[in-house]
């Protein structure tokens, strides 16, 4: 990985990563968080920040298919990785079945947790297309929602799983 130092001697690194299918080679600092690279560097503000401590899951993105809290991942660690953010879930303007299901099940209130929830759920359905209700609850247990009591979110994920059945 190429590194350059600024006048104060602080190093910058050039990393390469794929975000929603597009390749980027941003220059970042060693302490740049993936969530800040996505939001500030690439203007992908669909990824939210609710705590920056790994508690809330608002910043969930898929890193090589696995859900991660982007506030706990250094941008450096994402070098060479494939990242999917909420902006990359709908394809050509067509909503993903999970997105549709969240709408149809009234699983959205303020919507702040929604991007993270959808990505956690997407990862679940990819590894387990027919989850049970406890499995759905476990998969989103790291995504806090203050509005919905999770009731309709769990329903939405189970419904979306049905569609693939």
């Amino acid at each position: 990985m190429q590194a350059i130092a600024d006048k104060q001697g602080v190093k910058r690194y050039i990393i390469s990563l794929t975000v929603n299918g597009d390749e980027y080679s941003p220059v970042i600092k060693g302490n740049t968080l993936l969530v800040n690279l996505l939001r500030d560097g690439l203007d992908l503000t669909g990824t939210k920040k609710g705590c920056e401590l790994g508690d809330c899951g608002s910043c969930t993105v898929l890193m090589d298919g696995k859900p991660v809290d982007a506030c706990l991942v250094l941008a450096l660690e994402a070098d060479g990785c494939e990242i999917i953010t909420i902006e990359g879930v709908a394809q050509h303007g067509e909503l993903d079945r999970l997105q549709r299901s969240f709408i149809d099940n009234a699983a959205i209130q303020c919507g702040y947790c929604t991007p993270g929830m959808i990505l956690s759920a997407k990862a679940l359905l990819a590894r387990n297309p027919h989850p049970t209700e406890p499995e759905v609850r476990a998969a989103i247990a790291g995504n806090l929602c203050r509005c919905t009591g999770y009731v309709n979110i769990v329903k939405a994920v189970l419904d979306a799983a049905e569609v693939t059945a």
Partner: protein, 802 residues
Amino acid sequence: MSQPTPAGLKSSARTYTHPGLPEPADKDYAVIGKSKPKIDAREKVTGQARYTADLKFPNMLYGKILTSPHAHARILSIDTSEAEKIPGVKAVITHKDVPTLKYGISPARWDENIFCIETVKFVGDKVAAVACIDEETCYKALKAIKVEYEVLPAVLDPLHAMDEDAPQIHPEYPLNKNTEIHQNFGDVDEAFRQADYVRTDMFVGNRTYQAPMEPHTATSIWQGGKLTVYSSTQSPHYFQYYIAREFGLPMGDVRVIKTYVGGGFGGKLEPTGLEFAGAVLARLTGRPVKMFYDRAEMFAHNRGRHRQYMKLTTGVNADGRILGVHADFIMDGGAYTSLGIATAYYAGAMLTLTYDFENYRFDMNRVYTNLPACGAQRGHGAPQPRYAFEAHLDNIAKDLDIDPLEIRLRNARKPNTITPNEFVVNSCEMVACLEQARDISGWADKKGKLPAGRGIGVATGSFVSGAGYPIYRTDLPHAAAMIKVAEDGTAATLYTGATDIGQGSDTVLCQMAAEAMGYTYEQMKIVAADTETTPHDFGAYASRQTLMSGAAVKEAGDEVRKQLLEMAGEMVDLPPERLSVRLGRISAKDNPEITLTFEEAARTFFVQKGPLMGRGSYAPPKLGGKHKGAPVGTSPAYSFAAQVSEVEIDEETGEVAVLDVWDVHDCGQVINPALLHAQVHGALYMGMGESIWEEVRFDAKGKIQNPTLGEYRLPTALDMPRIHSSLVPSYEIAGPWGVKEVGEGATLPTMGCFRNAIFDAMGISVNSLPLTPEKVWAALREKRKANGEDIWDPMACECFLE
């Protein structure tokens, strides 16, 4: 078996008849009453929805606030010179650089300054602020500001705040008394004398925090003399009013714009240091400044639920009819007033709603402490007293050997009555809620028949559908709306100051507009909560928007329909009364052959007469009595709810597993059933968190010990019980189409309901919130000891002794 009323005492409520139009026979609605998808759903599932922190402006700076590390200290000096030298620091401000006018959301007690001048009053109090080229530089700059403090003794225990020798927090408010209330209705002493049974209980609530997922953010931009603030707010209007007041600006030169808001629950109702400091920093630097709190700063800013100490005394007849109640409370207000005067009044005022009694005394002291200020959290002041009263009532029921559901049915409020504190209740299906909760929960088969360790409990709640009076004195209507139909009639835009913070007001108001206009929901657009482009509305608090904003929207929609049908009448040569419009189709009432589309008539209207627009506004009637504090708790309408829950207790660990909750609500005509039940789910979730886990805790120096979502312990998807949300038919004469509130009411019964279920399961009373495993375990031990069981005491074991 009902007993006669004792002589000289009023025993049941005065009745009242609302002068409005009765419930319509034909309720064949085309748009309302249907579970339409949220109008903003697509934006929210695709990540397109932009919240305040997502906005970027050219040349924008980042700002942060420096806060106090001490609970109570005198500021001796502030030295910003080192911070100013750091490259990238564009401005550093302290109290010397900002207006010193005191502010606060409650006009009766303006007690906050933008930055502290002489003393800091809690850990987190605002001292200075910086604007820098990026976030990292902000933290460097904050570290470089040197503040010298003389630490002062602090008031951390609200029960000793009023002691003669307690440190004084605000010199203007002796004995740290912020709000003192003494209200008296009927004759409580006589009621207690005549009662067959009088009981007193003490309960303690918990300090909780709204914890919306989106942290507060505000971005301030000056364009010449005009200030624009983008903010995560529940009320652009109050922000505009208070920002204009602080800076001496005409309200027209302050524009507050709400973006998408990631939840509020009462915590985003008042402007914070972010708006005030940001405005000054933006003016000094001539650049947009984005200010934000991180999660720990959110907890420190607080404005969450007050901890209340609640003593209740109630006198009843032998058959459990309530004759009189005395509520004697103290609440920990924290360092400032916030919305706490209203909270203090609400705490007592709302106790009179669900049960019918005529003799009531309410005493309250809201005290200042050196802890973060408390304000309005979902249910505003009412949930903890409700928990206390419901627990107290179960104790009475047990003493008198009456079934808890039965004692509630005997006392349940009836429609068209007046409470002792002069609230007029029109619709009230309290009895139906209780009966339905009893039936769907299988109460009769479960009460007293559940296996060991299981229990079932019941509780009630009621809440306002909008406050009868605004927060500051003004004769502005409470809500206003405009609808503009597009030139070709293919769309209509609703302009409203109503504030969608996630609860779905944009959606239900568009449904209401379409219903009134005879249009389709799918063609509606909305512009909301921008003080410059949308007409005034007080915003999202006190569960007001469906009824109040809805009434304004209905009036605007009715006006569009009237003009449209007049135009259509001219076009088909019929008087407008003989035409009707539904879902965009205009037809003659007596001749289905004659039809016309909404678009055709709207387009012709525009060509001939100009823009087709409707306007509406809403002001509640004059409400309430004449006693001090009478306005708090007044409302055009009240929701009612009953909840039953079933719990299982692990005797070894004290852990409480909530298995099922049945919520039955009387919330009038429903506009969007899916969103309504979602409100119940969310309210219950918050109630459940507050019941069992959530509590902001402090160390011995007044510093928060758990300012993170994990340690504060927000419930996760794994913690939730099965929720059954159900409704009883109801129609509210004071609301458009008969609507009432739902969003806050469902938080009210939950805490008492769980406590009562635990009481039923184990015969133990946990008299303080939250109902943690430790407390349940300790209560179980006490009970076993009292029963003479020989119990090993781990604390007496030598290995635990020093």
